[in-house]
Amino acid sequence: MLEIKGLTVEVEDTEILHGIDMTINPGETHILFGPNGGGKTTLLMAIMGFPRYKITGGSIFFRGNDITRLPLDERARMGIGMAFQRPPAVRGVKTRDMVAAGLKERASEEKVRHLAEKADLADFLDREINYGFSGGEIKRSEMMQLLAQNPRLTLLDEPESGVDLTNIALIGNLINELLHKNCPIRTRKCMGLIITHTGYILNYVNARSGYVMISGRIIGCGDPHEILATIKERGYAKCIKCAK
């Protein structure tokens, strides 16, 4: 379970998140909606533990452990994984090295290749990670690395952005595999928190709850499909009005 209570987060001395509460139970996937600049990415970065995102109040519990003050890498090793919207290119570090790093002691050439084929990136293994990758290739590469890492909690920042329509189904399949969607909910352990602007991903991935985040606050939650329909029809203004 992921349990966030009263979380406040600062970036460069400016408070971005003002008291966030959220609970994701084992096996559940939640969706985060909201306009640009509303704090969605900040929330994911703070859960992951990036130092620039300073937690100034509240707490984060993950699988019963208080991780509020834990460094980024320890959180990753505890089972939190994140797909980045715009990951950096790391010159000289090959894609295969990143996949192997995620697999750790389970790493083998066969496993690395298997994951690459799954993400349609077999020809990318010897390329420098993210260097010269297209938007869609970056997304598939991020999914591939997460599959190697096999996290208990997956944080996805706009997994469908920059992906053409022919590849979005592939991304959806990879997310479903990552979140163990083929397992019954009762036995499923993996959790997901996904940011989406377009909602396309909901055509491929089932999610239990949706949140609307505006100006650093969650102003509403409910069925993600209903929320998406409302946003599409009336924009975020309606969400703000409902919240009042």
Binding site: D73, R91, K94, A101
Partner: protein, 414 residues
């Protein structure tokens, strides 16, 4: 028993050298040559170099020269101080010998002597002419290709000695030579000077890969002078690795593409530890249609200074060149100064460069940490990636040698 023979040298070269004996190099700290001895005790010839002391063999192995696996090399040349102490060939069509012996054997060799580089370039080339201490001659006959690399080791054992070598490398038409040259010293602290002139002649359709690994000590000054002439459809790949401390290193090798579609690639990997000063460049002159070059330098400072130069000159139609310098500053107090230069004389040429100097990007470290690597592991992975030399066209065995030299030095950096 190998006999040293006196090197022939024309009066003209001697005179030119004499005139340039005080001429400072264009770059780098000026070295007082009078503080070094130019002669040392003659060493014994070794029929079987695997019988050299283990400590010596270990030093040589660190620079890619293996003496316990003779079947992994097509030929071997070893010079200790001023004495060639071993020379052998294991493959037909390849010649490996002391340059003094080659000058005796081949009258025509004088046609190559100081042809790629002028004897009066600076006081260091002049000193090599005036105080010749041998060097190697390596030649592949027309059409022959080395199965395994040929290796040469220039080993500095005596303190305060100036080692002055003049090497000639000729790849005849259609031949292929993979040469690995390791230069190292026996002592971790003795002062010394290494002056090495190397002239490469790559004939039509020939291919030469030259991998030079240096491993000196904080008391040694190094002034290599390398020049290459590449004929039509010839290929020259030059890899240079220096990751250990050195007092000072200054070199600026030049390759001239004189034949159509000649190709030159330089790859340099430099690590400057505190107290080390390096001024290292690579130059390619594209004088023939369709010639191409790529110059890539990766420079890391952990406290020392690196000036990384690059120069490409395009003088013929359809030539193409790219120059890249990436510098990484791992410790305060170190300096990387990238000086890329391009000169074009014609329309229709394509020359470009890129240079970047900075510290390791925090964003990259954090990206790797988000995959579960510790900060130290993430940093090490990035540095290892930065240093990774995957030279296109280099046989896997030589790539592995470079990789091994890099790995052996990684612990000193991280």
């Amino acid at each position: 028993m190998h006999q040293m023979r006196e090197i022939k040298s024309s009066r003209t070269y001697r005179d030119s050298a004499k005139e340039a004996s005080d001429k400072p190099a264009a770059f780098g700290e000026d070295i007082d040559l009078s503080s070094y001895a130019s002669s040392a005790e003659e060493k014994h010839y070794q029929d079987d170099p695997s019988e050299l002391p283990d400590t010596t063999k270990e030093k040589m192995l660190e620079v890619g020269v293996t003496l316990d696996e003779p079947d992994q090399r097509s030929g071997t040349f070893i010079q200790e101080d001023n004495t060639p102490i071993h020379c052998s060939v294991r493959q037909e069509g390849i010649e490996v010998m002391a340059v003094s012996e080659a000058l005796e054997k081949y009258d025509w060799l004088s046609d190559y002597w100081w042809r790629a580089i002028a004897v009066d370039t600076d006081k260091y080339t002049a000193s090599v002419e005036m105080n010749q201490n041998n060097g190697y001659f390596i030649r592949t006959l027309p059409g022959y290709k080395t199965t395994y690399p040929v290796q040469a080791c220039l080993y500095l054992a005596t303190a305060q000695l100036s080692q002055n070598v003049h090497n000639i490398i000729i790849a005849e038409e259609g031949s292929e030579l993979h040469l690995i040259t390791g230069c190292t010293s026996s002592s971790e602290e003795n002062a010394g000077l290494h002056l090495g002139v190397s002239e490469f002649y790559i004939k039509r359709g020939a291919k030469v890969t030259f991998t030079m690994i240096h491993n000196w000590n904080p008391g040694i000054n190094v002034r290599p002078r390398t020049a290459t002439i590449v004929e039509e459809n010839g290929l020259f790949l030059n890899n240079y690795v220096l990751m250990k401390p050195v007092r000072s290193l200054q070199m600026n090798p030049v390759a001239r593409c004189v034949g159509e579609n000649a190709v030159v690639r330089y790859n340099s990997t430099l690590v400057a530890t505190p107290g080390s000063s390096m001024d290292v460049g690579s130059q390619t002159i594209l004088d023939a249609r369709g010639a191409k070059t790529e110059i890539i330098t990766r420079a890391i400072t952990t406290g020392g200074d690196i000036i990384s130069r690059g120069y490409i000159e395009g003088n013929a139609p359809d030539v193409k060149g790219h120059l890249e310098c990436r510098g990484l500053i791992l410790q305060e107090g170190g300096m990387v100064h990238a000086i890329p230069e391009l000169k074009g004389n014609l329309a229709g040429i394509d020359l470009s460069h890129e240079a970047a100097v900075g510290k390791i990007a925090e964003e990259e470290v954090e990206y790797l940490m988000a995959r579960g690597l510790t900060q130290n592991e993430a940093t090490a992975t990035i540095i290892r990636g930065f240093l990774k030399v995957d030279v296109e066209g280099l046989p896997p065995m030589l790539n592995a040698e470079i990789e091994r030299a890099v790995q052996a030095s990684e612990k000193d950096i991280m």
